[in-house]
């Protein structure tokens, strides 16, 4: 989660929100959240699990 937050604090083009899956079960179900952390970019589920910073950047920028 912190990597997403760090990106948002570092760039005005990035927004980052942690969403507590148990509290918003309908949204979690719509996005097929079965494992956490699940990373969703611009409303599209992308991957599950933590990755190192360089890989995180590579993956989010690949969607841009």
């Amino acid at each position: 989660m912190l990597l997403a937050y760090r990106c948002a604090f570092a760039s005005k083009r990035v927004a980052a929100t942690a969403i507590e899956a148990n509290e918003f079960p309908q949204l979690a179900q719509e996005l097929g959240v079965w494992a956490v952390p699940r990373i969703v970019i611009d409303g599209e589920p992308r991957w599950d699990g933590a990755v190192p910073e360089p890989e995180f950047l590579r993956r989010i920028l690949a969607t841009a």
Binding site: A10, P25, I39
Partner: protein, 131 residues
Amino acid sequence: MREWFAALERPVELLVAVGPEQTPPAGARDVDFGAEMVKVCEGLAELGDGVTWRVEDEPDGFPRFPAVSIRPDGRDAGVRYDGLPWGYELGSLVGAILEAGRAEPSLRSESLAELEMLDRDLVLDVFVTPT
């Protein structure tokens, strides 16, 4: 945690957004999530002068309640936590406060250079659970 908050390089505001909540998860029917969120943020603010909080009822830009916006110098940086940060997830909120309180980003210089090249907005949502 008091030491961490004392080391903040700029003030951090927690804007707590309360409003209509979704059906609570099984076993949590007696929990007022909005009230608990206020307690959490109030408690965190008591740990350091650099952390303040305020609450608003259904402010613009918040699709879910409760939520908290973590704001360096009171500025909306696009960083939120939606839902109550239970258990281990309190660490995410504390981590966000510490990041917001940094004068300089903590990402690697290579990462900052890559972010500089972004030419459109990105919305990152990270689903988490408290355990």
